[in-house]
């Protein structure tokens, strides 16, 4: 296992350094950087699997001369699970990148791109393995900065620079709160070691525990993209190259989920006040619903996917929140179930979201636009990409028998078990959250019916789409890998659940694998067979058999004569793409029904013929959705800081002597305070 760990770190490090020595040879740089990342991904998958199976966590550390800092690594099942997730998505993204980055030859330095890519993966892997607060912050910051550089890969575009800047600010606000969280633990224990955080000599007083809970929620929540801290996602994720978006959306935001589980269940473990779990549940439900609602209104495919990350983080948090509530009332098995549902959805979302981002990248590669209204008819031109995107779309819409369905089903079950909670308020709130989850998942279905239907079906809507062709082999292999993972994670929950149980057992204090899995592994039945059961392999088999039955009935009743092909009836004129339903048109009813949330503003300019006001000569239609959070939450804060900065400008005279005086005065004041 130590060897595997060394191999992973060595490959990523080599991948970070080597490309710089191959200046001027982009093809070689591409193969070296992404080849090494592939190797590291394979080793990482093995390492994660070994870590999940190992009876004892793997630890390693190098002490440093800096006080409180030690480069300590600990690979317990929780860390191993995230290493596995990161490596799996990393592997697919690296294979995909081999073909995808050819787009950037001559425009962007491949050395920088490949090196940053490896560094980014390395930093994420270290984040989940770090066992020292100081070390964690260093790799966390490294992860944020490297991803910032990757976001601004195409920095010649103004909107990319803006996206990067926005991301940089938000992530640092988050980091400030994370530092605060660790300082609370440090102040109590006098050490930055996670082991000491876990078993402090004196337990943290309740007030400080609450403080740590909130600081961690804001700090990690910013990275995870919970509402209202989600505003950076729809800017940053689309701006990055697509294989980077897949990593950011698929796994980087999951490191925040990792950290939340680590802090809440590991450091603050045991008892929570009931309202902690309730807050997590509410944050989750609101993020899920608003995430999907804003996604519906997006016609930039990558922004749409970014908003769906907000939604899915919300679903994960609903599972964790339910788990925390059950923990409060000592219902350990149900608490474990909530945690199980959340973590299962974590890996599922990583897989299908990365797949969808890679699919979006393929569309971008083939058409050079992200605007869905310019796609159309691509399934015939890009059959493989289309098929893989469809698998991702079905999974994210939580339709059986794919992986998204299984984990959402588990979240539903943990919310339904709420009738065991003594508090009547929570008894009502958890089913209400289940209703919100139901609404969320159907809206997601509508959103992906739109995304797939408008992009891949019917007639091409622009010359970009008309001239699109299938993407290179390596990109298809990258997507295929994740598509297979979507199906396997869906039909084989009996393999996944015992592995997840190994993570959860130490955190929730109870092992539930043998209670959740029933009928010799054929069905999931949390937590008893009487209450509910689900067998996704049986459903998959049933669907396949009944499809064949349909085919059989057709053959028996009328035969399978060849169909006649003809044009779609266009009311007497030839069908043109302009007659098709647009993405905007498709979601119009939803926009209207939920107008309280969207606050849409519509601008319609019309010019009529002189002869009659019933014949329009020219029409211009515009509609906007009120960016509520930006307008009412962020803009006032930004305005305040700008105003403050304006006032402070008077002390900035540009004179070196004056600045030296400032430094001297500050020093004296600090010394006085210290005395």
């Amino acid at each position: 296992m130590t060897l595997l760990l060394a191999a992973v770190l060595a490959c990523y490090t080599a991948g970070t350094l080597l490309p710089h020595f191959l200046r001027g040879r982009p093809t070689l740089q591409n193969y070296v950087a992404h080849g090494l990342a592939c190797a590291a991904g394979l080793f990482g998958i093995a390492l994660g699997a070994a870590g999940l199976a190992a009876p004892e966590p793997l630890t390693a550390s190098i002490t440093s001369t800096i006080p409180y800092l030690s480069f300590a690594i600990r690979l317990d099942p929780l860390a191993a699970f995230f290493v596995l997730t990161i490596s799996l998505v990393g592997l697919a993204a690296s294979i995909y990148a081999l073909g995808y980055v050819t787009e950037f030859y001559g425009r962007v330095s491949l050395g920088a791109l490949g090196s940053l890519f490896n560094g980014f993966l390395l930093s994420m892997t270290l984040v989940v393995m770090a066992d020292n607060g100081f070390f964690f912050l260093i790799v966390w910051e490294l992860m944020s900065l490297l991803s910032y550089f990757l976001v601004v890969t195409e920095h010649e575009k103004a909107e990319v620079r803006y996206a990067g800047f926005f991301y940089l600010i938000m992530t640092h606000v988050g980091t400030a709160f994370i530092i605060l969280t660790f300082l609370i633990f440090f102040q109590n224990t006098g050490s930055f070691s996670f082991d000491v955080f876990r078993h402090p000599d004196t337990p943290l007083p309740q007030g400080l525990r609450t403080f740590a809970f909130i600081a961690a929620l804001i700090g990690f929540g910013t990275k995870a993209g919970i509402v209202p801290l989600h505003v950076w996602l729809p800017y940053a994720h689309p701006a990055a190259p697509s294989h980077i978006s897949a990593l950011m959306s698929g796994v980087m935001i999951k490191t925040a989920i990792y950290a939340l589980v680590r802090v809440y269940f590991d450091f603050l473990g045991g008892q929570f006040p009931w309202w902690w779990g309730f807050i997590i549940l509410v944050v989750g439900a609101v993020s899920a619903l608003l995430g999907v609602m804003y996604a519906l209104m997006e016609h930039d495919l990558k922004s749409l996917l970014a908003f769906h990350s907000v939604e899915n983080i919300g679903i994960i948090l609903m599972g964790l929140g339910a788990g925390m509530i059950f923990q409060t009332y000592g219902l350990k098995e149900f608490a474990a179930l909530g945690l199980l549902a959340g973590l299962y959805h974590t890996i599922n979302h990583a897989v299908f979201k990365a797949l969808l981002f890679l699919g979006a990248g393929s569309l971008l590669y083939a058409t050079h636009t992200r605007n869905m209204e310019e796609y159309g008819g691509l399934l015939k031109r890009m059959p493989w990409t289309g098929f893989f995107f469809l698998v991702g779309a079905v999974s994210i819409s939580a339709l059986p028998p794919t992986n998204g369905f299984v984990s959402e089903w588990l979240v539903f079950q943990s919310l339904f078990l709420s009738f065991h909670i003594p508090s009547i308020f929570l008894k009502l709130m958890l089913p209400l959250a289940a209703a919100m989850l139901a609404l969320t998942s159907v809206l997601a279905l509508a959103c992906f019916a739109k995304a797939f239907g408008i992009s891949f079906l019917a007639l091409p809507r622009s010359s970009h789409a008309r001239h699109a062709g299938e993407v290179p082999g390596s990109m298809r292999v990258g997507m295929a890998l994740l598509a297979v993972a979507c199906v396997v994670l869906g039909v084989a929950p009996m393999v996944v659940v015992p592995l997840l149980d190994r993570i959860i057992a130490p955190l929730a204090g109870v092992s539930i694998a043998d209670k959740v899995i029933a009928l010799d592994g054929w069905a999931l039945a949390p937590v008893n067979v009487e209450f509910s059961s689900l067998s996704s392999p049986a459903l998959a088999l049933l669907l396949a058999t009944l499809s064949l039955l349909g085919l059989g009935l057709v053959a028996a009743f009328g035969g399978l004569a060849k169909a006649r092909h003809s044009k779609t009836w266009g009311c007497g004129i030839n069908l043109s793409p302009r007659m098709e339903y647009t993405a905007t048109g498709f979601v119009q009813p939803i926009k209207r029904v939920f107008s309280t949330i969207y606050q849409p503003t519509v601008k319609l300019e019309q010019e009529f013929l002189e002869e009659s006001k019933y014949f329009a000569k020219r029409q211009q239609f515009e509609f906007h959705i009120e960016p509520v959070f930006q307008k009412y939450l962020y803009d006032p804060v930004v305005d305040f800081f700008l105003a403050m900065a304006g006032r402070l400008r008077v002390i900035q005279a540009g004179s070196l002597h004056l600045y030296l005086t400032y430094i001297f005065v500050t020093l004296v004041v600090l010394l006085l305070i210290a005395m």
Binding site: P400, W409, F412, L428, A446, A449, G453, L519, G550, K562
Partner: protein
């Protein structure tokens, strides 16, 4: 044991497939009689299906494989959902395969592909139908989940067979039926919306202003249309079965004795026919609502389901 299970699954498949066109025909007949028409016989839908199966389908050259695969997926997912519901025996062999959530999501799988198929031909009608179906489906789902959960609480299970079996044997029945009545009303509205009946959608219309389901399937013909129509009938029957067996399971076979099975089947046919007549009457009494008025109706269903839940907890103390 295994043989029994397989036989029961086959029997249930046959019953569902055989009865669903009859229900469609019965509703049409009731509507015709209420409009003082003679109307076609109740077995007309069988003849329609047979005719459609024999006809050569015409497929738009704009479409992709999604369009031709959808009828099979829709048919399979709807029938799979039907096999999770107890029909004439309270304990279905496929009970282990999925609970009520699985049923809802299996139906959603069919809806998803039908929405895609509607967009595939490239005509504005299909897109319009798909777009409307998306909003109606979104609004019905929360009410459906909540109302079923309210019922599941009484039986202490989300597995349909367990709910029906316990209710049939009068176990765990609350003395006050008000939560059940509210949940029933909510689920009935949901069923009307999900199966595209008046006042949400009109299955008899081909007017672009009002179509939802019919607009999505406008481009289908021949065997594809036959499968889609059959699946629509099945979906209607699945909802009727769900309602009659959850709220009034009495008479359903609780054992595998031949007498009990025969009685169960007979009682089942009477019950779903009765509910079909009720739907026919409702369709004749009400006009179709404007699309944006449907929101209010489904909002009522949601509130009813929520109240059912509140009442359940309040009555239980």
């Amino acid at each position: 044991m295994m043989l029994h299970a397989v036989l029961l699954i086959v029997a249930q498949t046959i019953v569902l497939l055989a009865v669903s066109p009859f229900i469609v025909g019965l509703i049409r007949k009731v509507k015709a009689r209420l409009q003082c028409r003679r109307g076609a016989g109740v077995f007309q839908p069988y003849a329609d299906l047979a005719k459609l199966f024999r006809k050569q389908p015409v497929v738009s050259s704009t479409t992709s494989w999604i369009f031709t695969a959808t009828p099979y997926i829709l048919f399979a997912s709807t029938l799979a959902a039907g096999l999770l519901v107890p029909v004439f025996v309270s304990q279905t062999p496929l009970n282990f395969a999925g609970n009520i959530i699985a049923l809802v999501y299996l139906l959603a799988l069919g809806t998803f592909f039908l929405i895609l198929a509607g967009l595939d031909a490239g005509s504005a009608f299909g897109g319009m139908g798909s777009s409307r179906e998306a909003i109606v489906a979104s609004l019905t789902e929360p009410a459906m989940i909540l109302s079923i959960f309210a019922i599941a609480l009484t039986a202490g299970s989300t597995n349909l067979s367990t709910i029906v079996h316990k209710t049939a044997l009068l176990e765990g029945i609350v003395t006050d039926p008000s939560p059940h009545l509210m949940a029933f009303a909510a689920l009935f509205i949901v069923a009307l919306a999900e199966t595209g009946r008046v006042p949400v959608d009109n299955p008899a219309t081909h007017l672009e202003l009002t179509m939802i389901h019919e607009a999505m399937v406008l481009e289908y013909s021949g065997r594809y249309l036959a499968l889609v129509e059959w699946a629509a009938g099945l979906k209607l029957l699945v909802f009727l079965t769900l309602i009659v067996n959850i709220f009034a399971p009495w008479g359903i076979a609780t054992s595998l004795a031949p007498g009990a099975l025969g009685l169960g089947l007979a009682v089942y046919l009477v019950k779903v026919s009765g509910l079909a007549v009720v739907i026919g009457v409702i369709e004749s009494m009400f006009a179709k609502l404007r699309l944006f008025r449907v929101t209010d109706l489904l909002g009522v269903a949601f509130i009813l389901a929520l109240l059912a839940l509140v009442f359940f907890y309040v009555l239980r103390g």
